[in-house]
Symmetry: C2
Subunit: 390 residues, 2 copies
């Protein structure tokens, strides 16, 4: 029961093999769980032990290699025939004297795939220096190349099926944000609001449930809004403070993130002034995000508005988004920032997020969108404003 | 507002430096977020971009190096003085032409720490081959050694303060398991039960809230119980099937996991027979887990009971547990399996989990415990049985 038709996986594999041929790879070892899922449908919380999908120019079907106890999970979620799903012995798990990728190397060698030019993803979360070393030691006749982002770039333009999942994720994100707005009151504990958000994210709608987002809901409040990635505490929300809410809906691992800022009370003039610049600048960026524009042009549209409003922001204002696993829903390909000359194509999907963090308070407002012919087409239908609760 | 007193962090750093001196390291680059937290208190969902804590024999205070926008998070959560928390420029984030660890290398060099023998954690989730290469390229005068698990082993024996947090996590785990038992009924969607579990995990108790566990709640059901790590779907629970529940409470990143199995209806005789062996074998393992015993002796106690009952299990029956971040609450040090001759010490904490997965059904029952003088002392007080709901 993979999430997509076999033909869609076959098309993804075909494009991957074309790209491999272009860059001169015979074999590609994919350890990023999002890329493994993209190519085969494999889906499970098993990426805490080493695993990979192997795509070869010499073989039609990829191999999916997981820990032995997860092989049944591969049979149930990947589109592959059973003989293409392999499980390695448990003695390799978290052992000081052997590594699962030594087992993978021996298996590739046995299948005649241990030669030629092998690409590995050398800058992903779940492929360590020791994993790379185990492959190199086990396959002395192979040449290794960094193939980071090869599959990620193939993921950049979404199919209609993928876009439909992101639209479902948007419905969930809207519900979760509404639940957060309803729950936040002075005196309510942050953890209780986080529980409410989680519940809305996972229960989803009556028509479809939610998958776990790749980030926990972030809800920095008060002085905490001076930085984006602190998680909740037991402390209560306090009147006359701002709370940033960054959360996502998720559907079959596809995300639609959204950030908003809520103010309990009457926001100071400086916060309102920043909100005004952020909203105008975000709109300018969304208008600029049409197919044919570059990522840096989208950022420049924001920057012009920000400069007029006296707001500066050092960090990027957005990134590619879609299919992913913790700890990140971003796809690590393009970023909306100076120097990124990636040309936007129709149905690329990005998250434009205007986060301004001062030393005492911050504000975030964002939109997740697909690239259209005349600009961004946003997934969520949700008031784009500082939400004031008195 | 770190979770522990400064003296406890200082003691952890002292023991780390002693160990560094023993193995001949001048500097240690710690990229595992659990180890970063252990040494400094730093806590945030920022490990999706490269970051590290640097411990040097030449300097008293560690350095905490994070992405620029997360520096305020470091100031708020780490015990360190402000000048020991550094933020790197955002242009290094997910860029193809530069890497954050190149910035780290330059910073270490500037501070005179770019020489001698530098340990890096070469088999953790958030330190990639490219990160290692960036350090090696940037610090050509240094010698690098794999220091994986150096800090993890220091974490193995818990302080009274840590044990108190794990006891709080146990209270949350009991509530979450009770909520799951109450919610699972034929016809109820899996996602709705997952939402209920999450809500209980995060809201915690009236006295203390919950932190996010390092695993999502796992609730494989029916044929899904043949493998442990598939996540929930939108499908409803079905009468006359088993559901495995593996979940944890979490408190300031300290976990107390628990696994149980629920049967909707009347369990087949084979399931009851396996339950009987699992319960007797788990008790035998817990009785054997006294200080002075080895990990493999604990497993052997299970294995003797299992053999008599005709049950075989290839995979390990437990592992060290405590402080961690997604995707794993295990500490990656000792495992309860043949060949692991680690000698148990008082107040080491482990999760003994008897998971038996057949092709059509499975069962899991577990206990999280600390090592005591006469055997395991379990954290949870929860009926240890196959829970039958008719």
């Amino acid at each position: 029961m993979p999430a997509f038709a076999e033909s869609e996986y076959r098309d993804r594999i075909r494009r991957t093999r074309e790209r491999m041929a272009t860059v001169g790879l015979d074999t590609l070892v994919v350890a990023d769980p999002a890329n493994m899922n993209y190519l085969t449908g494999y889906d499970g919380w098993s990426f805490y032990t080493p695993q990979c999908v192997v795509v070869s120019l010499a073989e039609d079907d990829p191999l999916c290699i997981v820990r032995g106890m997860d092989r049944n999970g591969g049979l149930r979620t990947a589109f592959l025939p059973p003989d293409r799903v392999l499980g390695y012995p448990d003695a390799y798990v978290q052992a000081s004297d052997r590594h699962p990728f030594a087992w993978v190397a021996a298996e590739l060698d046995r299948r005649g795939l241990g030669r030629g030019r092998i690409g590995t993803e050398q800058d992903v979360y779940y492929f360590s220096p020791r994993a790379q070393a185990a492959l190199e030691t086990g396959l002395p006749n192979a040449h290794f190349a960094d193939a980071s982002l090869l599959v990620n770039w193939i993921r950049a333009v979404k199919s209609e099926t993928e876009l439909a999942l992101m639209s479902q994720a948007a419905r969930i994100a809207e519900r979760a944000m509404t639940a957060a707005y309803d729950a936040i009151e002075p005196g309510v504990r942050q953890c209780d609001v986080a529980a409410t958000i989680y519940s809305a994210q996972i229960a989803g709608t009556a028509e479809f449930g939610g998958d776990y987002p790749a980030f926990v809901p972030l809800l920095p409040t008060g002085i905490g809004t001076s930085t984006p990635h602190l998680t909740w505490t037991d402390e209560p929300f306090v009147a006359e403070t701002a709370t940033i809410l960054e959360l996502s809906g998720c559907r079959h691992r596809y995300h639609c993130p959204m950030a908003r800022t809520l103010y309990l009370g009457t926001p100071p003039a400086a916060v309102r002034a920043t909100e005004e610049v952020v909203l105008a600048g975000l709109q300018a960026a969304l208008d600029a995000a049409r197919s044919g524009a570059t990522c840096e042009e989208v950022e420049a549209a924001w920057r012009r508005v920000a400069a007029r409003g006296g707001v500066t922001k050092e960090s990027r204002i957005g990134y590619a988004v879609g299919l992913n696993y913790p700890p990140d829903w971003g796809e690590h390909t393009m970023s909306l920032r100076p120097g990124d000359r990636t040309v936007l194509e129709p149905n690329m999907t990005l998250h434009a997020i205007l986060g301004i963090w001062g030393d005492a308070w911050g504000i975030e407002i964002s939109e997740c969108f697909k690239v259209g012919p005349t600009g961004a087409e946003t997934f969520c239908d949700f008031p784009r404003e500082l939400f004031i609760k008195r």
